[in-house]
Point group: C2
Chain length 249, copies 2
């Protein structure tokens, strides 16, 4: 039973809490469970997922090369359709370039403000939505739509799979950064065409994410837009169906 990962869920709940929670528990049987992940490992994975935040407030100071290297390596370990690895990572350090990106954000954000009326518009205007200039660096994550040629395994029926692969890389990057204490914020209020021009992207390469990256004084306990009362959390049970859309178990 101990060697069979699918029963681990039961094994976990054997024994009194004092033993289950003991630091000796993991070395004794936890290391071979669940595809090699012990209870503490799982806790770390769930915690990084739970405590990842969209960060818009940054401290001064650089992110060390070694940390950045680990974060980018994690991004490149994302799944990619047909193993096409369509991503690139442009590390935007130059302040002149960032000022131009910031101006593109401001233009798109002014347009957006006009769309939200009344109290909603006031709330929108009060939100801090980016940290382009004050973060340690920005990272533009792109997708090369012709990497390894036009024919890609797994893209024949769903041609946007390369975009989705690149998003998986962004999420890996985000989680890796969080466990390093590095904040990441995704700025989506920039017109993709303007961003592509500012980054000098060739034909066939599209920007997927523009990220602000750097150390931060704190990771908010909850998503900021939830705390600000912008939208409520959708309950778990409203999001899960069985066999067909709309069917509850």
């Amino acid at each position: 039973m101990i060697l069979n990962p699918q029963f681990n869920n039961e094994v976990q709940h054997l024994g009194p809490a004092s033993i289950r929670n003991s630091k000796f528990r993991i070395p004794f049987w936890g290391m071979d469970m669940n595809g090699g992940f012990g209870e503490k490992d799982r806790e770390a994975v769930y915690r990084v997922i739970r405590e990842r935040r969209d960060v818009r407030r940054f401290k001064s100071g650089p992110v060390p090369e070694a940390v950045l290297g680990r974060i980018l390596t994690a991004a490149m370990q994302a799944p990619s359709v047909g193993y096409s690895q369509p991503w690139n990572f442009i590390l935007v350090k130059d302040l002149e370039v960032r000022r131009k990106v910031h101006a593109a954000f401001q233009r798109a954000n002014e347009e957006a403000k006009g769309l939200f009326a009344g109290e909603r518009g006031e709330k929108y205007a009060a939100l801090k939505l980016e940290g382009i200039l004050e973060s340690a660096l920005n990272i533009c994550v792109t997708c090369d739509r012709n990497r390894f040629g036009p024919l890609v395994l797994g893209r024949t029926a769903q041609p946007d799979m390369d975009l989705f692969s690149t998003v998986c890389a962004v999420q890996n990057l985000w989680l890796a950064a969080r466990c390093e204490g590095v904040g990441v914020g995704w700025v989506s209020i920039i017109k993709p065409g303007e961003l592509a021009a500012l980054m000098g992207l060739p034909q066939g390469v599209v920007p997927i994410a523009y990220l602000c990256v750097g150390y931060t004084d704190s990771f908010a306990p909850e998503p900021e837009l939830k705390t600000a009362g912008w939208l409520p959390q959708v309950p778990f049970s409203d999001l899960v169906y069985v066999d067909q859309w709309g069917r509850k178990e």
Copy 2:
């Protein structure tokens, strides 16, 4: 220095390996570093990212409700544009439904086979690309393009951000499953329109991912398409630019 996360990279390398690797190291100073993530925690996060695989071979036996609940909760903790949480998760257990999805896969896969010529086509035909019928369950992850109405903060300049948010949820689900020892494989060789019809999706809701989920005998040491020689790994240095596309540091 110990209290300042941005110096942890240096702190990590102080002291002989016997002390650094000791189990006493983490409780002593590791817990307050890097936004609360100690060295062991970071290792677990990087390991789950590195060891996640696209799984197509499954063992029989169900995934316990508690495990599935944790995996889905992790998915729902993904970032979403404007906190719109546009995702739903259809747990496809019924074998009749899965047979229809499998038939849709087979149709799309026959079309795909015709596109890869010669030796490439033979290699393609020999690959196992899905585990729809033999996995414990399938999960169709969808994106509601009108959740909370048509106007969403952060989607005004980039309307596909809701699709990307849903992909972030898929990647969270995938990583959470990996640390539970549960394999996940993304089947993208199905026409989205056919999948939407089979899942009964209403207007405005689109399928993003169709996942096979279940326990597996092993997680491959490397991506299967890399091992099979389908495509090579792209070197890190080819994927990273500075300030502009194509510029190396």
